[in-house]
């Protein structure tokens, strides 16, 4: 295949990605969009395989077979509750692949004594830095989400100083590599620093802030591909990487706004380290726990119920029994809606995916503003495994770490049923005054079991 024909194929692939992303922005066309993107990828890969320079097949075929098999297994076998980990892991793979390509390109150039010019060397350095940060950052995020590491923030002593020094070292080594592409100390040093930096950047960030981290790493995986594109002079990589970089960045911004925090605050503040205890001491107020029978009475008298899902629903895998409950209530002519906070769960759209898995139609899901308009006219707000996103302290308590975060105003509903494992504070380590509200019924226990008993009670 001539280079011109290959470039035409790359152009077609880029067009596919653009159209695919466009189609992904509406539920009706999203599946087609994903397919268009996959076709674009197939075209680009097929054209590259027909490139005259590709002659040594065993390494190529081995890589393709091993990778496709692993990816397929992951995609088919990961349960929906494991989606945040899976997406995180795939981000890491993409970043690592870009960094490896940049490394190989550099080593090849050095071996062939055809040193790259400064612009290419800068691109290679950028790809190494971003790509390796994406890999180890994603692995740490994966470990936290998979609970290999504790989900709470784990700041080291002098965390910020360490990160600042590492970042400076990374930039310095990148500059060195750009100036002297054959300096192997610069190459290995930069790779090592970037790998460590990925760990130290993500490690101090708590589980509740994972939606931001995952979005940001998504953006990085695109930027790494983009930098590799500059290193290879390949515009298909540049276009695609830029699209993904922009998309991840937008999601990051949406997540930060949903918490009313700056990206810098999410990255460096290690929210959730302490706290909770001070407010918990709030002088002898008692939260009232209720059994399934009492809770069922509240539902029997209701005309409208709004379900507020959170990460606890994912942990307990309670989405199916939530749907069962909603169907039962609908049969009793009760209007059931779902209020989904943008940062509920561990990645953007986490709750939407779980509810879709349970068969909840997506047009029953309300976004923040619509939900808050409806909550004052709601009889029962059923909070399933969510906490911080319903905490009224965000509206009123200036000293609260989550002050200013837009929340779902469940306290404005006539009655709140709070389905929760225990009376502990949320993932942000913040106490929730809603527990002590006279209109709140605490429904303690594993969300799945509690809701099952509620369903059984309502069927009587």
């Amino acid at each position: 295949m001539t280079q011109a024909a290959i470039n035409v194929a790359y152009l077609a692939a880029s067009a596919c990605f653009i159209v695919g992303l466009k189609l992904l922005s509406s539920v009706r066309t999203a599946r087609a969009g994903n397919l268009v993107g996959a076709v674009g990828m197939l075209v680009a890969v097929a054209a590259t395989l027909l490139d005259r320079r590709v002659v040594d097949w065993p390494p190529v075929v081995a890589g393709l077979v091993a990778g496709s098999l692993a990816g397929t297994l992951l995609a088919v076998r990961t349960p929906m509750t494991g989606m945040p980990q899976m997406v995180g892991l795939l981000n890491g793979f993409g970043g690592a692949a870009s960094a490896l390509v940049a490394s190989a390109e550099l080593l090849r150039a050095v071996e062939g004594r055809a040193l790259p010019g400064a612009p290419v060397a800068v691109a290679i350095a950028a790809s190494l830095l971003v790509g390796w940060i994406t890999l180890t950052g994603s692995l740490v995020a994966f470990a936290k989400l998979q609970e290999f590491l504790p989900g709470r923030p784990l700041p080291l002593p002098f965390q910020k100083t360490v990160n600042a020094l590492l970042a400076l070292a990374g930039l310095g080594l990148a500059a060195w590599l750009a100036a002297r592409p054959d300096a192997s100390a610069a190459f290995w040093g930069l790779s090592a620093v970037a790998l460590v930096l990925g760990v130290t950047l993500v490690n101090p960030i708590g589980g509740a802030d994972m939606p931001v981290v995952i979005s940001l790493l998504n953006s990085y995986s695109g930027l790494a591909a983009c930098a590799t594109g500059f290193a290879l002079g390949n515009s298909a990589l540049i276009v695609t990487g830029a699209l993904v970089g922009a998309s991840g960045f937008i999601l990051t911004r949406v997540m930060c706004r949903a918490m009313n925090r700056s990206l810098a605050n999410v990255m460096f503040a290690a929210v959730g380290t302490g706290g909770g205890t001070a407010a918990a001491a709030a002088a002898g107020r008692q939260a009232r726990a209720f059994g399934a029978e009492d809770v069922a009475l509240a539902f029997d008298a209701a005309r409208r119920v709004v379900v507020v899902p959170g990460y606890g629903m994912a942990v307990a895998q309670a989405q199916h029994v939530v749907k069962e409950l909603a169907d039962l209530l609908a049969k009793k002519n009760i209007d059931v809606r779902y209020a989904v906070h943008p940062v509920a769960g561990r990645m953007p759209g986490h709750m939407n995916v779980l509810l879709a898995e349970a068969g909840v139609p997506y047009d029953q899901l309300l976004e923040l503003d619509d939900a808050n308009a409806l909550l004052p006219e709601t009889d029962v707000a059923l909070v399933v495994g969510a906490n911080d996103i319903t905490n009224p302290a965000a509206r009123t308590d200036r000293s609260s770490p989550i002050y200013g975060m837009p929340i779902l105003d469940v306290d404005r509903a006539r009655c709140v049923v709070f389905c929760k494992r225990s009376l502990g504070s949320g993932f942000a380590g913040v106490d929730n005054p809603l527990f002590f509200n006279p209109a709140t019924m605490m429904f303690l226990g594993d969300a799945k079991e509690s809701l099952k008993s509620l369903v059984a009670e309502l069927k009587k």
């Binding site: 993107g37 692993a70 993409g94 692949a97 870009s98 983009c226 949406v254 986490h350």
Partner: protein
């Protein structure tokens, strides 16, 4: 590469960034996860560079770096597209 060549690549990059912002800023929250896993899959485009490196004649350390990059990127691509489709199959409207 010439200066003109670089300027062209930067032009492509700049336009793609703006296009990306335009395309994605209106995605509804329901689709945030599929958008992320789908865009994640296409970021596996870096596989093109890996294929050229691993497939080049003459084996060396970089051949195997390229093969490893192919495997990682292929996992990214296959896993990303498949899992996105798996999720999107589940989204349905009220009957």
């Amino acid at each position: 590469m010439t200066i003109d060549g670089w300027i062209q690549l930067f032009l492509v990059f700049t336009l793609a960034v703006f296009l990306g912002f335009e395309l994605i800023s209106k995605v509804p929250p329901t689709l945030h996860t599929p958008l992320m896993s789908g865009s994640n899959a296409i970021s596996g485009i870096t596989i093109l560079g890996a294929l050229l490196i691993a497939g080049e004649s003459g084996r060396s350390l970089f051949t195997w770096l390229g093969a490893a990059a192919i495997a990682l990127a292929a996992a990214n691509v296959a896993g990303g597209f498949l899992v996105t489709d798996r999720m999107l199959r589940m989204f349905r409207r009220r009957k």
